[in-house]
Amino acid sequence: MIELDVPDAARMHALGERLATLLCAGDLLLLGGDLGAGKTTLTQGIGAGLGVRGPVTSPTFVLARTHPSLVGGAPLVHVDAYRLGGWDELEDIDVDATLDESVTVVEWGEGLAEGLAGERLEIHIDRSVGPAADAVDLRHVAVTGIGSRWDEDQLRRTLSV
């Protein structure tokens, strides 16, 4: 597991951009963390890094949004499982149909979307609870690669500033 401290939204975005350099079609990322942790901000960075058509915004209401590539690469499929109650409902929105040709990011996917692929990247973002202690609104990011697709050393080199 790789652990990082991210001090603000701009650097969360930059982390997503760096992560995007490692991503290709078929990759699945599961993002977890409480309301307001920064999952969408990280995904916006990934979208910018992949060079997909934006804007990348929270897909909670529409459940999933496909952002085609503007640079001839893989599209980003941005899924939000916040409103989904179980595996059946995730299957209903046909995320598995586009897995192979897309980079798929599932917010609120922990404990639900693991079955989509054996190899995946799990990212959990924690924010402190209660009032922001001071001007710094720190996020703790934990990245775990599951399966041989992910090389921990390469992840660490790419994600660390």
Partner: protein
Amino acid sequence: MTSQPLILGIETSCDETGVGLVRGTTMLANAVASSVDEHARFGGVVPEVASRAHLEAMTPTLHRALDEAGVGLEDVDAIAVTAGPGLAGALMVGVSAAKALAIAVDKPLYGVNHLVGHVAAEQLENGALTEPVVALLVSGGHTELLEVSDVASAAKLLGGTIDDAAGEAFDKIARLIGLPYPGGPHIQKAAADGDPSSIRFPRGLTSERDMTRHRYDFSFSGLKTAVARWVETAERDGVPVPVADVAAAFQESVADVLTRKAVLACQERDIGTMVLAGGVAANARVRDLARERCAEAGIELRQPRLSLCTDNGAMIAALGAAVVEQNLEPSAPDFATDSSLPVTQVLV
């Protein structure tokens, strides 16, 4: 009046299956199979959003619309359908149905933009939009500020949310303070007994720096986090959460930013009419503040009734009617759905 073509509109971009019939700017039918009551049972969970639900609702909703208008499928002159933006699988059902119908009755088919459809809906309420308008679209899935000079052909995005949609923020905050789904009406109800000035929650993207980069954009993620932190702090200190005050202060922040930026857009772009649409336009505070600020600024506020504000088929038929009136080319028979269709593309 009857000389104007009869347009059938189909909408399936999210969880409403809508079929409407329109001639010009006259609505003849607006049948919607809604699943909000179903959602309420699951506390905001949406099994019905599956394409399958649209599939099951499509034929009965189509028949209901035709009966309501007292016409037959053979009377339809053209078909319009939402091509995007929306949920890919859901859009696919509407587009497939529309293509099948168009082939069956041998009539032209137009794949149109859902967002611009919301603006076209206002034409069914108060007549044709003849001047450019600024449209504020706020719903569960959308928070956008558009400039529309011509609904059929000239729409552009002035700004939009950079993170959460306004309606989504209502739903998430409702869950946070223990109110049921859907969040909008319940927060409005709770807020009626609260003091909006008791807590000062942040106004997203209104600082001087943000107004340079994100002049007409919105952000509700920071507000959501601020409310979450405020509630967590009260809970940690063992203080009961003043639900009415939190609801009122949160609602005030959303209504304030939405209406402030929409009025600013009208003023800076020298546009005299604002259209307020989308489900969140049903929120009394948003509506009142919009009315108040538009009146102060000398802007005409136009807003369709609630059944035309939420997703429906008549708005798509209204947009189709505008497109047909301008003799624009029908969509290619093999056009595809586009879940993130840009607002500048009114017709695919």
